[in-house]
């Protein structure tokens, strides 16, 4: 089975985010990028499938921030091929445009299964995976916790619903799956293995095909939420703070 995993780089929240002078985008100058967490799980899921049933795993990423690092790590973890899509505009694309570009690439390589994270911190509403399925005209299941491939031509996915329900769904291949988590957490790859991959493996680069994709969305303003009312911070020793809390509660008539 040929599996393609789409990896997206998202801003690393360890650094403080700044808004660019344009007022509609993040200031990318100091931004560091990190592999989106559920994409990390999608990769793990792909590698688990490969280990169990054989096949080939190709990791694919749009060239942004430390995408190369993520791709070498994917190779070190066991991916067979890594592809970097270059020629991405400075300000990036919206999810729909990105999905259109990736869709065009995947249409050519026509993998049996496309895995990607179901959401990312810059895609909390989970556009990417669904849009990709739509563009490719393939079946789509999102928020999965495991993907198995016991028979040919289809996969068996598990997803959970609120209210303590879980479903097992059979999906005909080819298909796009939006992974929430792999059955086991992404494995650790020792640094030596990544360094080794950097020396011995290559990432193939591909110019991102130009596809016309109307975004339909325009960011008007990006801003830090203004707190409605300032919270009152207490400080002092634990005893002092406890006393203050008691006073506040008393003043509001909550305790007597």
């Amino acid at each position: 089975m040929n599996i393609a995993v789409l990896l997206s780089m998202v801003p690393d929240l360890v650094e403080e985010l700044e808004i660019a002078p344009s007022g509609v985008a993040l200031d990318t100058q100091w931004l560091r990028y990190l592999l989106s967490e559920s994409d990390d799980h999608a990769l793990e899921q792909a590698l688990l499938l490969k280990e169990r049933y054989g096949g080939k795993v190709t990791a694919l990423a749009l060239d942004r921030g430390e995408a190369e690092e993520a791709l070498y790590t994917a190779l070190a973890r066991g991916a067979d091929e890594a592809v970097k899509l270059t020629g991405i505009p400075e300000e990036g694309w919206g999810k729909r445009a990105a999905a259109a570009v990736v869709g065009a690439v995947l249409k050519e390589s026509a993998p049996d299964l496309i895995l990607t994270g179901v959401q990312a911190i810059d895609d909390m509403d989970g556009h990417m995976a669904g849009a990709l399925a739509g563009i490719l005209g393939l079946p789509f299941v999102g928020v999965t916790r495991s993907v198995d491939a016991p028979g040919a031509g289809k996969v068996l996915v598990q997803k959970e619903y609120p209210g303590g329900m879980a479903a097992e769904i059979e999906v005909d291949l080819p298909a796009v799956i939006g992974v929430l988590s792999a059955p086991q957490p992404p494995r650790y790859v020792p640094v030596a293995r990544i360094r080794e991959a950097r020396k011995t493996r290559t990432i193939s680069e591909r110019e991102a095909p130009s596809v016309a994709a109307p975004e339909g969305l325009v960011i008007r303003r990006l801003f830090k939420p203004e707190p409605a009312e300032r919270a009152e911070m207490l400080d002092g020793t634990p005893e002092e703070m406890a006393r203050q809390i008691v006073t506040i509660l008393e003043n509001r008539g909550l305790v007597r």
Binding site: E15, L34, P185, R187, Y188, P190, V191, A192, R193
Partner: protein, 663 residues
Amino acid sequence: MSPSGILLLWIVSLVALGLFAFRVRYLLGLLRLGRGENRLGGVGRRLAAVAWEVLGQRRLLREPAGVLHFGIFWGFVVYASAFIFSLFKGLLPFLPYPMPEEIGPVALALEVFGVVVLAGIGGAAFRRYLLRPPRLEQSRDAGVILLLIGSLMVTSLLSSGFHVVATGHASFLWNPVGTGLASLMVGGGLAPSAASSLQLTMWWLHMVLVLGFLAYLPYSKHLHLLASSFSVFLTDLSPRGRLRTADADGGGPDPLNARNFTWRELLNPFACAECGRCDRVCPAQTSGAALSPQKMVHHIKEHLLEAGPYLLRGTPRNGHYPELVGGVVSADELWACTTCYACMERCPVMNEHIPLIVRMRRYLVTRGEVDARLQDALTATSRYGNSFGQSPKTRARWTQGLEVPVKDVRREQAQYLWFVGDYASFDPAAREATRAAARVLHRAGVSFGILYDGEQTSGNDIRRVGEEGLFEMLAEKNIATMQKCRFDEIITTDPHAYNTLKNEYPEFGGTWPVVHYTELFDRLIDAERLRPARRLGLRATYHDPCYLGRYNGIYEAPRRVLRALGADLVEMPRNRLNAYCCGAGGGRIWMEEAAGVKERPAERRVREAAVLNGVGTLVVTCPKEITMFRDAVKTTGHEEGLMIKDLAELVEEATTPEVSGHA
């Protein structure tokens, strides 16, 4: 002796030696499965080690029971030498010397040691079979040796008695036991002629027993009699705090096997006397974790003997070689080690447990088998250069609002480059001590600077969890950064950083002198650049950090500083090289609580300090310990009675003129 007797002796000797040599050759073959490692330089120091540890039994004599072993050991030496002379005289009767027991002083020595050894054996048997101390494994081998040595002593003492009866040469001076026994025998009606043949029987019995033992030795745990002297001679002469590099530790499909270890590492289990000393001092073992260093070493031997034949032939058993990790050694036990060095400090045969453990941890890391918290720490470290997962830009946040300037040594020259380390930079409690240290240095007029966001974690503990590649990356980055700075010496408050900077960075090109802040404070007080303005009227005890004490031998500097401050220093029962680890080292601080732990090492240690008469302060000199011990005083309910203080905080207090206490 008759010619046929001589022939028989030749045959028995050759058979015994043949069996012995056959086995030893096989065992050497097993050792040769390991990778190469040079342990032959520094012969003088090696011989000195043998003199101290083998002949002088130094480590054994650190505890009272060591006297028993000392007696047995030297008795054994005397007997073995006498035996060799005796055997050669028997094999080659024309040799121009008498039988050893015919020489007065030798006979006396043999008799005295015979009695001493019998008493020692009696004591050992009593302890082993009647008292049954928990850490001694009951084994057939142990029984066999007690019986054997006992029989040797009895036969040789009886022989001496028969000799006196047969020859009539009674001498209370040279044969006190023999003469005593002889008078009993004569009293029992033994004729000189019968005595003479009985003496010969004893002699034969003696020879056959010893030769039998020689053949049996390399097949039993008593191999340590043979291997331990080599183990001591082949000890590691490089600094204690330097781990060997990983070389080509194989990941891949091949399970960890003998080929991943060096031959010297494989020698450890053969040298082990199964004495249990390592277990008794091991913080993991004594707190209930899965690790027993003694069993681990033993299990490596079991594995080697099981897998060895297949490895030697190069043909796997049913498709693969028996597995070591996950087989006889569990991942849990490997992760429980704090790399505190207590076992290695104590082991009388100078076994090297930590390199074995790290070797196996490296294998687990290669396979990605690390627990979730450790994985987070490793991932964070490789990404941000610190295990806290904080932005590198916040590393020097502890300097904000500090009353004294802290140079950026990347821009400005300074005498000392202060390598701050992760805990001292990011941990809130440790940060206070770091700030105190900065103020003290400033007060003493020391020129120092830090690397700000250019510093990455030193990697000491990263290396010890087995992430060798990450360690190398960190060392290379730090060295490259420091090479661009102008300074004379490195100073650090973190013993872990101290250890790797001093002992391991030189192998990567970073060869700067390194001092621990306790050493520098000591010097500054000595030079009167730091003047205690008032005496701290406190009764305190001091905890030796493993990486400062056992690893680097710095025991006295912090104590001198404490005394100079006027503190009344009371030692815990386990101090200096016997200090009990706080449990944070070797990457344990990043991991889940080890399974099975009943009482954490830090809690045991705090209890040890808390019962000292009138002691209200536990002084630490390691940023990790502040957190470890502050937690432990809470969980043990000693929060009121025992304060945890960093030495820098006390120095600051004592050198501050006004009484307010805090600067």
